[in-house]
Assembly symmetry: C2
Homo-oligomer: 374 residues x 2
């Protein structure tokens, strides 16, 4: 599955091994290919467009470093069955807004078009083989090497500097003048502009860079591509990547336009920590303290009743003194503590302590839990 999708080159980066039965296996390096296979096997007849998402652990064979571990979590979305401009705008907007809303404010969105990049290379009269040579260099941003290779391909200095300008500082205007005589390219360019115009209208303070140097993987990316970086993260700053692609026919399904993106879960957590996003604090509603072992049954019963009302409830399970139990309740961020001792049990009351104010009062059991008999 993975070499069909990405070629044999991926074997080096993948966690491949032979199992006891001699099968060649790999720990999955990403989840787009499995999702597409799943679509081909199970969901081809679903109404289109079909929206799928995933969250799972993936693996790479590589020396671990900060933000780049051997095991990592990847989340992602795939939109199958449509290639309208609004579909891609929805998808890119989703990735962008999702990151903003979870608190990763400092992000940089680059949008490119791998189809147009290929058209540019073809207009420069490069052969398919030459294009296959040059694309990985663009992907790795080897801007010093690229002109040398293009020179070997017999491009004029003028053409080379025009190309370098496009992949490093593309503007829509430059692209229009480059493509003026190519109706297919002009149509794609207009579609790209349409996507950008939707994004600018629906997203407040939306900002992006046009970046024709985005290559993203191999042949199956065909249209608009994008990457989102969190500059705070330093070297390993890419947190999202995606675009328009076609993989379904490769896995034996009916050719179907698809667009999707993947999110680097672990790096996003690092980016959130960097921006000091406050993660939710676990807390409980009630912590019940039976004062002596005789009140344990009553405490367990109360807990079950409160839990059946969707309350989060803990009980002291250590038979320790009230002081220590209260300290534990505090560490659990309990909102209220319920004390039940022999006197309370006899009078059918409990003592409720507000853990924020320290205020404590006796409450009839009926008021806390109607119809409960201990």
């Amino acid at each position: 599955l993975f070499t069909v999708k990405s070629g044999n080159a991926i074997l080096e980066e993948m966690y491949v091994f032979s199992d006891k039965g001699g099968r060649n296996l790999a720990l999955r390096p990403e989840l787009t290919a499995p999702v597409m296979r799943c679509y081909v096997e199970k969901f081809q007849m679903e109404p289109k467009p079909l929206k799928l998402y995933y969250l799972g652990n993936c693996y790479r064979y590589d020396r671990p470093q900060k933000g780049r571990y051997r095991e990592f979590m990847q989340a992602g979305c795939e939109l199958i069955g449509t290639d309208t401009a609004e579909a891609s705008a929805e998808l890119i907007g989703l990735a962008y807004l999702l990151l903003k809303r979870i608190g990763v404010e400092n992000i940089k969105l680059d949008i490119g078009h791998i189809g147009l990049l290929r058209l540019i290379l073809r207009q420069l009269c490069l052969s398919d083989e030459q294009i296959t040579t040059i694309l990985p260099l663009i992907d790795k941003e080897l801007f010093n090497e690229i002109p040398e290779v293009l020179k070997e391909f017999n491009l004029t200095d003028d053409k080379i500097s025009q190309f370098m300008e496009i992949i490093q500082h593309a503007k829509l205007k430059t692209l229009h003048s480059f493509f003026q005589s190519d109706p297919v390219a002009v149509k794609e360019l207009k579609r790209l502009e349409e996507i950008l115009s939707y994004l600018q209208k629906i997203l407040k303070n939306f900002s992006f860079s046009l970046n024709m140097g985005i290559v993203r993987g191999l042949d199956y990316y065909s249209g608009v591509v994008f990457e989102i970086k969190a500059p705070n993260l330093g070297a390993e700053k890419q947190i999202c990547g995606g675009g328009e692609y076609e993989l379904i026919s490769l896995f034996g399904g009916q050719p179907t336009p698809t667009a999707g993106f993947a999110l680097g879960f672990d790096r996003i957590i690092l980016a959130m920590e960097y921006e000091k996003v406050s993660f939710p604090i676990l807390c409980i509603d009630y912590f019940i303290i039976p004062v002596t072992p005789n009140e344990i049954t009553a405490a367990l019963l109360m807990a079950e009743h409160l839990r059946s009302q969707q309350k989060k409830v803990g009980i002291d399970l250590m038979r320790r003194g009230i002081g220590k139990a209260l300290k534990y309740a505090n560490a659990q961020n309990a909102k209220y503590t319920i004390l039940i001792g022999p006197d309370e049990l006899e009078q059918n009351i409990v003592t409720i302590r507000d853990m924020t104010t320290g205020h404590q009062e006796a409450v009839p059991l009926d008021k806390l839990i109607p119809n409960l008999s201990l």
Copy 2:
């Protein structure tokens, strides 16, 4: 980690392999050992008791069959730092109630005590080695083989039939008369009775079988053990197993009493399907249909506004006719469809269709989304 916990025997069942670097690795067979290691490395200083839970994929090297796959999901809880009777009652009650509340009504809970079982074997004067021989036979319920082996161990026929009675049909009374002269055993027996009495009081219609034949894994289980089966599932019917154990010292931490259980996620889903539990149906609140491409921007804007109010919103992304779009909205279980065409856009209204009743009415845009200008 896994052979330390379970001995070398587990190598046969585990998905073990050598990676490119020649490291001997395994796909994790279960999650208790990783959680305990994590506790030893990171959480030893946390206030006790500490409650941890997990949900993750695990692997076994075995021929796949229904309800028993090479990759499976396991969920579980661990309660670290207390060994009171109420702690174990809370834990067993949690496993039992959780299954009942998600709709697996037909379950059978067996409760045993591996510590008492070992004491029984010692009272029968078996050596540690003999006990190690007999426990796996009890675990596999080889009730024909066990008497033969015990005979080889020179037990009298009387003792053998008494033992077989205990592991097949134990009653608390039989255990009390067996242990009357052993204060350690009597104390443990009383603790077991206390756990059972708590469970009977807090759980409505609670039923269980005392089963002294439950062995569960190896040496680290020391106290009460339990298993929950879903008889509907046939051969692979066990959906939960757990008990009181001590693994922390094995991994280099301070010895700490622990209790926990693991749930077989995939089998529980099968059991839910068997009991015809209705799983939640995905639905959306609004599906927006732009009648012509001119209304796409307005549709995208509306969608973003409604989504920022926590509504689930879809948009037609296919530029198809209203009839086909409505059909798709229906397949998505949309509650309402919002139609916006050239006339609506001009008059600042939208047409809202209730997808249940088919009722359709024109609504001023302001009423649906105050302060939105399209």
